[in-house]
Amino acid sequence: MRRRHFLTLALGVAFARAEAEVRYPDVVAGAALAFPRDEGAHPAFRTEWWYVTGSLRDARQREYGFQLTFFRSRPGVAEASASAFAPRQLLFAHAALANPAQGRLAVDERAARAGFGLAYANEGRTDVAIDGASLVDRHGTYAAHLTARDFAFDLALTKTQPALLEGDAGFSRKSPAPLDASYYYSLPQLRAQGVLRHDGRSDDVSGVAWLDHEWSSRLLMSGAVGWDWTGINFDDGAALMAFRIRDAEGRAMWASATYRDRDGRTTTYAPQQVSFVAQSHWRSPRTGTDYPVAFAIRAGDIAVELDPLMLDQELDARAAIGVVYWEGAVRARIGGRAVGRGYLELTGYGKPLRI
């Protein structure tokens, strides 16, 4: 699920009008995902993203969190245009580096219309780029490249496991309404290797990463104000994805989780089997928003506690897309014992999401 805030908020009510201009394909149950075709872009759908999160260590065992995201949007305008500039496909990228030594995120963002080879999301395999920030699948290894003002990285992310199909074989529902869904798969346990440049130095780094790829034509269900999402790479090779969608009172309106154990057995959990219980809060000195940065998450009989790598992983994207949220590297524990690393996304804790 997740990260649709970016479209719903950035382009606001636009979509209500866009409906009239273009007919987007529906997301339907039972459509089998095919790889590598479905790793590439699906330009007919309204929205799509490739979301890489991960944990890195340098030679001196310093730990970092990183995030690199590409969004594709079909706003439904200029569909008939003959111009090479026609804004039929828009691309956005977000990147963040969590360095506990800094205590705050270093971020980068960019936006462009697809075209002229400067920004694109190609079909057939994962191959997206905006102005030199790129994520390309080269025979099972993703090359993630970014050069921001404050930091840069070049990472090779190698698949160690097959795709984890979320929801019902990749059909991931977001609400009780059957059409309110996305196609969604994850690639957990990516082995990360590469170079990280920041603070004037260049470090060889390695670690583990997670790639989410999701596409849909639907918006967030009405009444929802935000969501909590996590993806955890367990040290033993297992993976857990869990999310819930909250209403204004903070109640879960929908939830879902998928767990694949180290032997590859996958279990999907229904909304009532998934719970998120906040363990501690952190208040942003900048926005005054309280974020539940530590959670006890339960999916069926799996219970995991999440603690943030550092408290301040608030991402202020008000200038670019009009939202502030918390998205950060977390450590996973079971009964106090460290069992893995992951990412946690918390949205809608400040102002309610405007849809």
């Binding site: 382009l11 200029a78 936006a111 219309r113």
Partner: protein, 834 residues
């Protein structure tokens, strides 16, 4: 200096100070004020215009370090990704800019197509704001500046109709763009502008922001080397500089005109001070004998002048600011000359220019008083004590100075422009004027001695009086000569220009009907051209494609006119000047360049000229030079078939139609409008175009006319004041004449004749100087400033009428003054003062 002398001097000066608000002195103050007011007003207007232009460019080019610009049609959009990927380029923002014609109206609107994702970091003033962020991408959405919305009378949510080809594009006003300033423009998505206004595959500009720390000039040089012909890379300020430079000659011209007003003011101060000093000769002589040093005396007179100057300058600055405010509101920053985009401009005020113009005013007053002051100090006290109204002594060294001035002035007229400004031309005018004035006593004596002494007693007396006092006579005439010279020079120049323009319009408008599409977005397709040629009543049609190309980024783009023209008979369509030729068959095809292009590029018929057309350099042979009053930035005419072959663009913006023998213009006009739809074409006749052009001309020169009138009024006022003053000063003489039996009426006649003779001398000398100056204005100042030639045409009737009016007014003034002066008892008059 003795205490008595000091007291007497302070009395003499303060007595004058009390005089300040009276009569002649008031006139002198007014003259200074007038000069300062005009000078300051012109300066404020010019500064405001330049500042407005610079801020406009700054707003629209935002944080761009470099701009890549091409011809008006733009250049291949695939240059954009090449630039965007360049190693030194951080951000690149493509722009398509068109002047879109408003459907059903003559006006155009500057429409800027941007990629909002690229523009927001470089040019935030080009990012639209509305309720719906997606409107910045929607093809039907347009954002207007508040000023443009006000000007067009639309609000967000309403529709705006723009013309594309002969079709109408209906757009939705989605919100506002830019600041609350006065600039009028609109912003749309770049793809929408390409689609709707036939700019497929082309951009007109790419704004570049460079990576931090790179050498902008070096990057510009490196990028330039890889750009296609006609596409230039330069800092955004270059564009502003080009326009500023383009209008600079015009602005300097106005500045000089204003200084002329100040100069005339100084002449008037000279006239009044000379007489004032002459009147107080005895007083000053007394002071000298009491021990006042001549230096103190000069200082005292100059002190008076400074007071005059300060009062005049203060009044002038206030009036000048008010004048500038009024002119900016009424006519815009270029006073209607068409150099700048229309729109209200706030006056620009700074302390330095206020100080400078105040100093100029004081300086004019001091300079005007310098000669009289020196004269007073040089007079031998004993002689001066006796003869109260002896002649003004003109320093002997002024005579060689006069000839040197005239000679140097004539020589300077042949020097070339300095930095594209006719500096030597202006200097030549100033020197001829000064030389002429310094030569006045000599000229006056020569003129007066050439006249036979008449039998008529009053006339004989008048002549002999004038002959006896050529110095005073000259000082009274200085103001009138200066003003007549400037006025007649200006009148001859303007009339020559107007006459040449009229003749030019006749050559340039041979057809019966002219059809135009305005802006960049309206055009006639090949089908439209065929349909128009086939309209009933149209015997012959010629079409023209007008566009602009950039030959040099530091200059405004040159207009390229691709028209149906017979290379063997170009003079049938163009106002050719000088020799022309037909290129040999194997030579590049012909191009006819305007005088401005010929001057700028130093081209002559037979030379080869390379023009960037559609990104490629195409060679042409200069076949002739023509006069183009319509496009000061320069224009080049080429054959339309060559243009279409090189560019693939067969659309046109203008058509000239010749009617069949029995066809009526009205019927053809109606057929045209019926074909295109009302308001989509401008259909005019040559007569209408001529009227319009001449009306524009007159509006542009309205300022000149106003200055001329002011100069004449100042000159006349100066002469009248001098006549009245000296008549009053000669009361003793009149008393004596009455004593020996001369009737009052005869004295009046004598004075009237004196006045008329004076004025006639001034008018004749003024006309001669004016004619010389007009030649410099026409052949040096105008040619070097605006690069257009004109044929001399002297408006004899109006000049003669003006001269006659001046002479009659001078005679009448003298006559009136005499009534006053001779009104009192003759005996008392003889005793007066002694």
């Amino acid at each position: 200096m003795s205490v008595a002398a000091q007291y007497a001097l302070s009395r003499a000066i303060s007595g004058r100070a009390r005089d300040v608000l009276k009569g002649r002195t008031l006139l002198a103050v007014m003259a200074i004020a007038f000069g300062v007011a005009l000078g300051y007003a012109v300066h404020v207007i010019n500064q405001s215009a330049v500042r407005e232009l610079a801020s406009g460019v700054a707003l629209l080019s935002g944080a761009a370090d470099l701009e890549v610009r091409g011809p008006r049609e733009g250049f291949d959009e695939h240059l954009y990704p090449v630039l965007a990927r360049d190693r030194d380029v951080q951000d690149a923002s493509p722009v398509v800019e068109v002047d879109a014609k408003l459907a059903g109206a003559r006006a155009t609107l500057q429409v800027i197509g941007v990629d909002v994702f690229r523009a927001r970091s470089i040019t935030p003033a080009l990012v639209g704001r509305g309720d719906d962020a997606l409107d910045t991408l929607r093809p039907d959405a347009i954002f207007l500046t508040r000023a443009a919305a006000r000007g067009l009378g639309v609000e967000p949510g309403q529709s705006l109709h723009l013309q594309a080809g002969l079709q109408v594009a209906t757009l939705r006003v989605a919100g506002y763009v830019g600041d609350d300033g006065d600039r009028q423009y609109a912003v749309m998505d770049i793809a929408a502008v390409q689609d709707r206004f036939a700019r497929d595959g082309r951009v007109t500009r790419v704004d570049l922001r460079l990576a931090p720390g790179v050498d902008r000039a070096a990057v510009a040089r490196r990028l330039q080397a890889s750009l296609p012909a006609g596409v230039h890379v330069a800092p955004p300020a270059t564009t502003a500089d080009a326009v500023t430079r383009f209008s600079r000659a015009y602005r300097v011209n106005l500045d000089v005109l204003a200084l002329v007003a100040l100069f005339t003011g100084a002449m008037l101060v000279y006239a009044t001070q000379t007489l004032a000093v002459a009147r107080r000769r005895t007083q000053f002589a007394l002071l000298r004998t009491l021990g006042l040093s001549s230096r103190r005396l000069v200082a005292g007179v100059l002190g008076e002048a400074i007071v005059l100057g300060i009062v005049g300058a203060i009044v002038g600055l206030v009036a000048g600011y008010a004048l500038a405010l009024l002119a900016l509101q009424r006519f815009g920053p270029d006073l209607g000359a068409g150099y700048f985009e229309p729109g209200a401009v706030r006056p620009s005020v700074d302390a330095w220019s206020i100080l400078a113009f105040a100093l100029l005013g004081v300086l004019a007053a001091v300079v005007g008083s310098l000669l009289p002051a020196l004269d007073a100090s040089h007079a031998a006290p004993a002689a001066a004590l006796k003869a109260a109204d002896a002649d003004v002594v003109v320093p002997a060294r002024s005579r060689p100075l006069a000839w040197i001035g005239l000679g140097a002035g004539a020589a300077m007229a042949f020097l070339p422009a300095v930095n594209e400004l006719p500096i030597f031309g202006y200097l030549a005018i100033a020197l001829i004027l000064l030389g002429g004035i310094l030569a006045l006593p000599t000229l006056a004596r020569a003129l007066l001695h050439a006249l036979p002494v008449p039998r008529h007693v009053p006339a004989a007396l008048a002549l002999s009086h004038l002959r006896a006092t050529p110095g005073r006579f000259a000082s009274m005439l200085a103001a009138v000569v200066a003003s007549v010279a400037l006025m007649s020079a200006m009148a001859i120049m303007v009339d020559s220009f107007r006459d040449s323009l009229d003749a030019w319009l006749r050559v340039m408008l041979p057809a019966d009907i002219y059809v135009r599409t305005a802006g960049d977005t309206a055009f006639l397709s090949v089908a439209d051209q065929q349909a128009i040629s086939a309209l009933p009543g149209v015997a012959h049609a010629e079409f023209m494609r007008a566009t602009t190309i950039s030959l040099d980024p530091a200059r405004p783009p040159v207009v390229l006119l691709a028209r149906d023209i017979d290379a063997h008979d170009a003079s049938a369509r163009l106002a050719l000047v000088g020799a022309s030729m037909v290129p040999r068959v194997d030579a590049p095809p012909p191009a006819w360049i305007s005088e401005a292009v010929a001057d700028a590029a130093h081209l002559r018929p037979g030379d080869t000229l390379t023009l960037p057309i559609a990104g490629r350099d195409v060679a042409f042979t200069v076949a002739g030079i023509w006069r183009d009053y319509a496009r000061q930035q320069g224009s080049i005419v080429i054959e339309r078939k060559r243009y279409a072959a090189s560019s693939g663009d067969a659309t046109v913006n203008e058509a000239a139609l010749w009617l069949a023998q029995d066809a009526r213009a009205g019927a053809v006009r109606n057929a045209l409008l019926a074909y295109a739809g009302t308001g989509r074409l401008q259909v005019t006749t040559p007569g209408e175009l001529r009227r319009l052009s001449l009306a524009t001309f007159d509006r542009t020169f309205a300022v000149t006319y106003a200055l001329e009138a002011a100069a004449v009024v100042i000159g006349l006022a100066g002469l009248s004041a001098a006549l009245v003053a000296q008549t009053l000063a000669r009361r003793r003489e009149f008393g004596m004449l009455r004593h020996v039996g001369m009737p009052r009426r005869a004295i009046g006649r004598m004075l009237a004749i004196e006045g008329a003779l004076l004025a006639a001398t001034g008018v004749i000398v003024g006309f001669v100087l004016g004619f010389a100056i007009s030649l410099i204005l026409i052949h040096v100042v105008n040619r070097q400033s605006f690069h257009w030639g004109m044929d001399l045409h002297v408006p004899w009737p109006s000049l003669a009428a003006l001269g006659a009016v001046l002479i009659v007014l001078a005679a009448a003034t003298a006559r009136l003054a005499s009534n006053h002066a001779t009104g009192q008892d003759a005996v008392r008059a003889v005793r007066d003062d002694w």
